[in-house]
Symmetry: C2
């Protein structure tokens, strides 16, 4: 008996929270996906019934194996199918006897090969599944990552759930989103890679995530759509309820061709996608790196509609470049107010008239530690809509001294964020260390403090350029609301 | 006696290869720059005479200290001045007696403060130095990094020299360039941070680097210029001889204001800078991250003038996004030639007609290791001007298997590069690991292979977007030649 409750409000609950899963093609061979998918259920602590199916084995990965799906002693909500294309039809025929609701076809080399026989087989599978009332995710996809249910499709995924749901046509890009997002501190409610979208597709998934209570932000990667009119409707409803951050893959000539051999999708006119995304208020990303940057903002910041930024930290050159890039992205840097200046006069009589926005932390000299007052002053000042704290990673001091400055800057950013004084983001523009640099004290320290910022839910960017570009889309989104 | 030979062809040789250095304001206090600058000479193995000057100490950092510059027992080529502004004039007066050629004024809080008294003092220092025939670097700057001579201005700089020379008005940005460049495998011939440019300025430095035999690439960060006409001439001559990659700091309203309080420079019209950079063929960067990306290309790749790219590696989604971004940056992805297809037919009879450009490595399945033939086929194909090898970091296999694929991809890229078969760059789009992720085997492996690529002089980028943006400027540069 399963100990997972399945509140069957939506058919996709059988995919994200199934009571029982059969892995068909389950294997002991660690190169095989029949190995991986079973391994993941064990590793991620799936609590429902697991049925490995393999006609040639008594047991797989120390679990009892069944010769066929029909031999499984109980109902099966979800089948993960890892067998080749020629065995899919007979598998489908066994599904009704086990009351199967959804089959995830990891099985590939169908329509995406462009070959007549494979395209025909895909159509036959589609027809048979429809006749039998079995819903299909895929084929040619990685399927489900549902951390709360204990289902995953890659190694090292977090068991902790978050509030980002992802609708991804590509399993590889979904993997990059999960892994790179995790490195930046993000967590996911549910992720689905849906490949060729033979049955359950982009619109069904958007409809589901629009309603899903555990999903507050939707990330999506689309290559094509099957029903444009339905898609626009689903996208509009989803985007009206939750921020939708999306990548459209397949814009140029080579990209469109690549889409066809990847998921057999028809990429469609780049211009139509532009118009659709703009009309419904989708936040568009160009690649996974940008998507992660945007997701950090929607995940952690309150809505921001103003464009006046208070900036501090780092040396003069960093301030100059940062001001240029922020203004280039549409922000303004108001001069310091009389109120701030008069308070600075008390704190640093030598500097109060010389300082500006951005605040150059390198000129404080022996008063360096007093620079810690600046974030507080800025966070109390109504002329700023949000703050950018740059960590002084170019600081030329020896490590003992330099670490005090970094620590102060990071703690100040965290305090402002925790107390909700003002929306705040951080920038740590040092390149991240490589393997051989990791024993270097400076890089270890920078990495530790980067982690501290993210643990405290402060969106932290690798460069000021990425920070202001993401903030610009974030502010535009909230202004449109 | 100094054991450093000084081929006094150019006055700046006294800065980059001095026979003797006095650190005025030398200190034992590790928060003081009089401590740092002396420490660096020792740490970096400066082989000339070092004279710490401190009126109150018999010794500093275990070296004999002198009460004044005049007390130093020998000639001094370079003075590093770390004392406050009110002691600079009397220091200058002592310079002729020690035959001083150049004074690096780390000393700050002069013109950049905007205060009348400080501006006056800067003028008095300038006049006195000119009268005495002493050349000045600075004030308000970090000065010299000359790895071969053993001079540096920050901790952890490499003692190994490279072919990039840097002319930087900002010491903080110069530090970021050196540190981030080092993490990407770059090394420097000489770097100078010149601050307020009271005497030796952007044009003198460009003239020097244009002639310097050890410098093959010039990186520059300018905030303002003193003599526009001379500057254009110097920039033109330098850019005619060597690639010049430059950032202009101070474009927008806040940036221009920040320039004035940073180096007392007049930022000038953004439009004039645009025109000047374009006319003389400067490769423009927006920030240090982009500058490092461009420097990797000029440092390691032969000239590339064609725009036809062969791309491979990673899964289908990565290929789609990458093709879109490459085409968006002005490149084309020619379809596979008949010759490549016929060779693929031998190697992978199941896939030869399905594969395209970019080559999706995720569909090779059990033939995965044969994908190793693709880079060779591409490198021998005249329809590609250069190759982009994407590392399959989104690979969903368990570590043992996945590492074999990564290893193969990295070794193939290195082979093509070493044998000079075709210009090749690599992309590793995984976010770099943070501190707590570093014990994770997957991230360690990715970092190790990133380092292997850079050790083999393969320009390696964090994202396909950064890669094609940098390549686009690189190809445009060589086409203009």
């Amino acid at each position: 008996m399963a100990d997972v409750e399945n509140p069957v409000g939506h058919i996709l609950e059988y995919a994200f929270n199934p009571s029982s899963i059969a892995v068909v093609g389950a294997s002991d061979h660690p190169f095989s996906f029949g190995y991986h998918f079973l391994r993941h259920l064990i590793d991620y602590g799936y609590r429902g019934n697991i049925y490995p199916v393999n006609p040639q084995r008594e047991s797989v990965q120390n679990m009892k194996a069944y010769r066929s799906l029909a031999d499984v002693p109980g109902d099966v909500d979800l089948v993960i199918c890892c067998v080749p294309t020629d065995r899919v039809l007979s598998l489908l025929d066994q599904c009704p006897s086990r009351n199967v609701k959804i089959v995830h076809l990891f099985t590939a080399r169908l329509g995406e090969t462009g070959r007549t026989q494979a395209v025909d087989m895909e159509k036959r599978i589609q027809t048979r599944a429809a006749e039998l009332g079995i819903r299909i995710i895929g084929p040619n996809c990685m399927g489900i990552y549902s951390p709360e249910a204990g289902i995953g499709f890659g190694y090292g995924f977090s068991r902790e759930a978050g509030k980002i749901g992802a609708v991804f046509q590509s399993g590889g890009e979904a993997t990059l989103l999960i892994q790179n997002g995790m490195l930046q501190g993000l967590r996911f409610s549910k992720v689905v890679s849906y490949g060729n979208a033979m049955d359950i597709g982009e619109s069904d998934l958007l409809d589901y995530f629009a309603e899903d209570e555990n999903t507050e932000i939707i990330a999506a990667y689309f290559e094509g759509v099957r029903d444009g009119e339905r898609f626009i409707g689903s996208l509009r409803r989803a985007a009206a309820r939750k921020p939708v951050i999306a990548i459209k893959g397949g814009i140029g000539q080579a990209g469109i061709k690549a889409v066809s051999s990847h998921t057999a999708a028809i990429a469609g006119s780049a211009n139509l996608w532009d118009v659709a995304f703009k009309q419904v208020g989708v936040v568009r990303a160009g690649d996974i790196g940008e998507m992660v940057n945007l997701a950090m903002l929607f995940n952690w910041l309150p809505p921001v509609t103003g464009k006046r930024v208070g900036m501090m930290g780092g040396g003069g050159g960093k301030g100059v470049i940062s001001a240029d890039l922020a203004e280039g992205a549409g922000f303004t840097l108001p001069p310091l107010s009389l109120s701030i200046r008069s308070q600075l006069k008390e704190i640093v009589p030598d500097l109060w008239d010389w300082l500006g926005n951005p605040v150059d932390f390198s000129i404080w000299g022996d008063d360096g530690i007093k620079a810690g007052e600046v974030p507080r002053l800025f966070s109390e000042s109504p002329e700023f809509d949000f703050l950018i704290v740059q960590i002084s990673d170019e600081n030329p001091m020896a490590d003992d001294w330099w670490i005090n400055i970094i620590k102060m800057e990071v703690e100040n950013a965290i305090n402002i964020s925790k107390q909700g004084l003002k929306p705040v983001i951080a920038v740590l523009s040092s390149a991240k260390p490589g393997f051989r640099d990791f024993e270097n004290g400076r890089w270890r320290t920078i990495s530790e403090y980067r982690d501290k910022l993210m643990d405290a839910d402060v969106p932290t960017f690798d460069s000021i350029g990425e920070a202001v570009s993401a903030m610009s889309k974030f502010v535009a989104f909230w202004n449109k609301r």
